[in-house]
């Protein structure tokens, strides 16, 4: 009974966590719970989470697997063995999904109570990264600290800063807001500059002096002619800011509407007067324009606030109104891939705002995308249809005719069949059988070398593209999954909560494929060494896990109910492999362990 209570405890805590997939995994199926009872004897007390188990679920090294297997007898419910898995996989299915759920949740769980347990785990697992783990015991290496803000939060933040600075500079809030926008919200620097030379700062920010003494208002002035519309009807309503450039209200409105609506300007709209740098403040604007424009104006002001701050970014998802704050700076992007998840569930990279591309650093992503754009299709075709001139390496397509090739570029004559020099063929050989010729074999080696780099690129590209494609297909499956879940409920008598494993599995698949996809871009730029081999092992493990899980989705609905435990296991295994891969990669990135074959700009 204690165990199920325990399970309940974790479930309650999880919804606040960020990982949707992990969240559902923790729903303990009956069998798993039973299996858990087997292992429960290991722990003297079950709260807080028993340490040996947690350790077990984290360990990856082969030598410790033996221990684990001794400690945790494999139960008959271990279903993965039919795939001929190695001990690593067996071990994973032994470590029940319940524990994996805990393990996963701990990566996003900032609960203080676990922190020392976690720390010990790191020390036991991987002594190489001990010091690092000690510094940041609560977070995985691939995770960054961030906060999601609603538009209201952002407004409050601005208001608070404006109020603070206004009190300090003894300026009205309107002016302070303009000053802060002018200073790109760098409070300290603004205050310093202001203290040094008040007049200059006010002037540069487009604020004339004595704004507060004589507030501008809309009025009709005798003999006034508007310089914009040339109207001079008596009683024409006009407006001027303190700079004295007076225009009729209609023209002012037109002007502001144009700036706000068409040009998306807000914080730096200047007086319409020629050469006047005075910025139009919120009060003047509110006085002049209609409410629909004011809304847009304030929205734009907010936009500039977020745009101005390096630590804030809008969530790039369509129609998402949230902004994310993250302390990772631009210069750190070679060492870290700051992936954040918005309130709207969209995961993106804070560095470049592309969709989540862990483990690949931003600069490599950019390089890779560019390369793919330029190269992939062309490269495929070149590889299939062309050869290179053995002398100048121009790419040549043979579009018919005989084997006697003359390179258009360097006039080199060679044989298409053996790539050897044509002169060695004599004059009557139009059917090449000179395979043993030295020049020919040398040319072929050369050719093979240069083709190799192309082949190498295609190797990575095809896998990258494949995961991208599969993720799309998996997404389709996800939509079908929802249907399946309802079907499963009615056919097997399972409750709604009991069929959630399908959704969890589907989400895990999406996430893992996203990661896998980028591992190929990453690997393309890795130099060949033992680190890379380790990386590829991790990649392979994750890929196998993903493909296994993906395969299960194709089973019919009536089979699915029976596969629940297996699927849960595989889901959590996938997620675990992903965490392992990302964690390892991120650590090594931070510590400069990776060797790339290009510059990390």
């Amino acid at each position: 009974m204690r165990q199920s209570l325990f399970a309940g405890r974790w479930r309650i805590r999880l919804p606040s966590s960020l990982d949707g997939a992990a969240l559902r995994v923790t729903k303990t199926p009956p069998v798993t719970r039973k299996r858990k009872l087997d292992t429960a004897s290991l722990s003297a007390t079950s709260q807080p989470p028993p340490e040996p188990k947690r350790k077990a679920s984290k360990t990856t090294h082969k030598d410790s697997i033996a221990q684990v297997e001794a400690a945790l007898p494999a139960t008959p419910q271990t279903l993965t063995s039919d795939k001929g898995m190695d001990s690593d996989d067996d071990f994973a299915s032994v470590a029940s999904s319940m524990e994996l759920g805990e393990e996963l949740s701990s990566s996003v769980d900032f609960g203080a109570e676990d922190s020392d347990v976690e720390l010990e785990d790191y020390q036991d697992d991987d002594s190489a990264f001990e010091t690092h783990a000690k510094q940041k015991p609560k977070r995985k290496a691939f995770e960054v600290e961030y906060k999601v803000y609603s538009p209201q939060d952002i407004q409050d933040q601005q208001d608070k800063q404006v109020a603070e600075v206004a009190a300090l500079l003894e300026q009205p809030t309107e002016q302070t807001a303009i000053l802060l926008r002018f200073g790109r919200w760098n409070k300290e620097r603004l205050i310093e500059q202001y203290m040094d030379n008040q007049e200059e700062v006010l002037d540069k920010a487009g604020l004339g002096q004595n704004m507060s003494s004589n507030p501008p208002r809309i009025e009709a002035i005798d003999g006034f002619m508007c310089d914009i519309c040339c109207e001079d009807t008596p009683g024409l309503q006009s407006y001027a800011m303190n700079c004295g450039h007076r225009f009729c209200v209609d023209c002012y409105r037109q002007y502001l509407a144009q700036k706000v609506r068409e040009e998306g300007e807000a914080a730096r709209i200047k007086c319409p007067g020629d050469g006047c740098n005075k910025i139009i403040d919120v009060k003047s604007l509110d006085l002049l324009v209609t409410s629909d424009l004011t809304d847009r104006y304030h929205e734009l002001l907010m936009r500039t606030y977020v745009d101005d701050k390096e630590s804030l970014k809008w969530c790039p998802a369509p129609n998402c109104v949230y902004a994310v704050e993250c302390g990772v700076k631009k210069r750190e992007l070679a060492k870290i891939v700051p992936t954040v998840q918005c309130e709207c569930k969209h995961s993106f990279c804070f560095g470049c705002t592309q969709a989540d591309h862990q483990p690949c650093p931003c600069s490599l992503v950019k390089r890779w995308m560019k390369k793919c754009e330029d190269d992939s299709e062309t490269a495929n075709w070149i590889s299939a249809n062309t050869k290179e001139c053995p002398k100048c390496h121009s790419t040549i397509e043979k579009n018919g005719g005989c084997n006697h090739m003359t390179c258009r570029k360097c006039r080199n004559e060679f044989c298409w069949m053996c790539m050897g020099m044509w002169s060695e063929h004599g004059t009557s050989w139009y059917n090449c059988n000179r395979f043993e010729e030295k020049s020919g074999s040398e040319a072929r080696t050369e050719q093979a070398k240069s083709r190799q780099s192309l082949e190498r690129y295609l190797h990575y590209y095809n896998r990258f593209a494949n995961h991208e494609q599969s993720a799309k297909l998996d997404k389709d499956i996800f939509h079908k999954t929802e249907k399946k879940m309802t079907l499963l409920q009615s056919s097997s008598g399972m409750s709604w909560i009991e069929v959630q494993f399908l959704e969890a599995a589907s989400q895990a698949l999406q996430q893992c494929r996203q990661t896998l996809k980028w591992t190929y871009a990453f690997a393309y730029y890795l130099a060949r060494n033992s680190q890379t081999e380790m990386f590829e092992d991790n990649q392979k493990d994750l890929e196998m896990a993903v493909e296994n899980l993906s395969e299960m989705f194709e089973k019919s609905t009536d089979q699915l109910a029976g596969l629940k435990v297996d699927m849960l296991d595989k889901t959590s295994y996938c997620m675990r492999r992903r965490v392992i891969l990302l964690d390892d990669t991120a650590k090594k990135l931070k510590e400069d362990v990776w060797e790339f074959n290009v510059e990390l700009a």
């Binding site: 310089d227 914009i228 040339c230 109207e231 023209c251 319409p272 007067g273």
Partner: protein
């Protein structure tokens, strides 16, 4: 307010048809969308005093809130060339901050633009095209207002 540009242009037209500074002449203003002006430049050996340069103004309905599009036109009859200037491309596009959304003020008008361009030419000492002229002329497909010029040289 579609009437804004027409009202203002009508007023401008009345004024232009009255008096204009020397060297600036109205060529055509048949509608309130496109006007043409001729400029001649006094006292600058780069531009012969007999030579005239034709400016084309295109107004959008939101003129004068929005800047007009102003370019030099070349024609053979009468002969009009594109004046040589470090800020004027051979296709007639003028790199001048006051024609750009940032530098434009609705207070400007056809006359003041013409005067500005005339004085820009009168004060010029370099008989050369902008750097990258050939490349720009070959590749540019944008309207002048959509081009982001860098006003790197305020002295010319």
């Amino acid at each position: 307010m579609a009437g804004m540009s027409s009202k203002r242009l009508q007023k401008e037209l009345v004024k232009i048809q009255g008096t204009l500074p020397p060297g600036i002449a109205l060529v055509s203003a048949e509608n309130l969308r496109e006007w043409q002006m001729d400029l001649s430049i006094p006292d600058n050996p780069i531009y012969p005093p007999t030579e005239k340069y034709r400016l084309r103004f295109l107004f959008s309905p939101s003129y004068p809130i929005e800047a007009p599009e102003v370019v030099f036109l070349a024609s053979s009859n009468p002969e009009r060339k594109i004046p040589i200037h470090p800020h004027i491309y051979t296709n007639g596009i003028i790199c001048l901050d006051l024609l750009d959304t940032q530098g434009w003020s609705p207070v400007h008008n056809v006359e003041s633009i013409s005067i500005s361009i005339q004085s820009m030419l009168a004060g010029n000492t370099k008989a050369e095209r902008p750097p990258g002229d050939a490349e720009f002329v070959r590749s540019n497909r944008q309207r002048p207002r959509d081009i982001n010029f860098l006003y790197h040289d305020p002295s010319v």
